[in-house]
Symmetry: C2
Subunit: 192 residues, 2 copies
DNA sequence: TTAATTTATTACCATACATCAATTTTTTAT
DNA sequence: ATAAAAAATTGATGTATGGTAATAAATTAA
């Protein structure tokens, strides 16, 4: 229990909770470990959980009408990830969530999230701030996609997320940057 | 005062407030009317307000290193708009906010937002849900940019936001879709 | 209403990135 | 350790969209 409380303080950084609150939080979060290659959410699923990443690497991706994959988000230590659109709106997932490197995750279900909001109102603010940041990050990415060349986007990516590149396949990254693996290969070659 | 209360109920749809709460909200929102062409936020500004759009049309856009404009968001009736990144993080704006058609807006300052959160906690949830939706919309746009051709993006846009196209210049829309005005012109020609 | 200015269109050519196919390298499984 | 499978690289060629410039249309101002 002590060790679990420590994790909680890591997940909810900069917040202080009473003993009782920590217990509530602990029992709302379900720890799971998952093997590389696992598909945790599949298109069409109902999505009941968002996941805090303690360790490992994963991604959400969408398969378009031509069968091409598009990586929407990567997740590494300390990030929250899920198909947010499905999670928030209670619609079926349009995304897949794939484990890229063995993961330890903490799952927070919709019910438990509501429960936390009600029992520990300060969490409301915590999640809101997380969302605000995610929103800002998305906005930045839209701008990058609109204004930068593939090479510029690649450089910015490896600069911003140096820990991710090592853990993902070439084509995971390419499909995040909006180019083909071949193009990414050529970009890398040119940069050497 | 009565007419103002009506507005409030429009802004905070599906929420019910006491007389006193309505008074608090009314005094937190500042109504302004602005003429077409006005630049309400300029790159480098500190951003103290987010704006609810009662009427009119506006956009946020970024100017990249090559001097090219990129429209990040349009705003029409019933939307909230600002440079969210600057507003949330208290950093200088990287965006400009431009009035495209005469607008009536309600400004909510950061201080007043905090005040509302504290005095009327249910607003917390209201804003959170707004953010969740905005987040989902952004995600959808990233996917569209990754997986669709310019023509497909154009068609989806005019389908999703039929009211916006009429109010904006060709190059506003082009810079939103990530193409040049010339390309948009050609796309439209082909579609006829 | 006319002139001035802004915006949209069109043509021609350039380029970034895609596609296809073959080959090499790396990873995984036995 | 070796074979099999998956991933990455490379070359040749195609295509969507960009850039430039000239013209036409629409909007604004006088």
């Amino acid at each position: 229990m002590k060790s679990n409380s420590l994790k909680i303080s890591e997940i909810f950084k900069n917040m202080s909770f009473s003993e009782k609150e920590i217990e509530i939080i602990t029992s709302s979060l379900k720890k799971t470990t998952l093997k590389k290659g696992t598909i945790l959410i599949k298109e069409g699923d109902f999505v009941d959980n968002m996941y805090y990443v303690e360790s490992g690497c994963l991604r959400t991706f969408h398969i378009d009408v031509h069968g091409k994959e598009h990586t929407v988000q990567f997740g590494i230590k300390d990030w929250w990830i899920t198909d947010y659109t499905a999670y928030f709106s209670s619609e079926k997932a349009i995304m897949n969530l794939e484990i890229l490197q063995d993961c330890t995750l903490y799952a927070l279900s919709k019910n438990n999230r509501e429960l936390l909001y009600n029992k520990i109102p300060q969490i409301h603010k915590f999640i809101r701030i997380k969302l605000e940041r995610a929103y800002a990050a998305f906005q930045k990415r839209i701008l990058a996609n609109l204004s930068q060349s593939a090479t510029e986007r690649y450089l910015e990516f490896i600069n911003t997320y140096p820990d991710i590149e090592k853990n993902v396949k070439n084509y995971h990254l390419a499909s995040y940057l909006g180019i083909t693996t071949e193009s990414l290969s050529r970009i890398r070659k040119k940069l050497n």
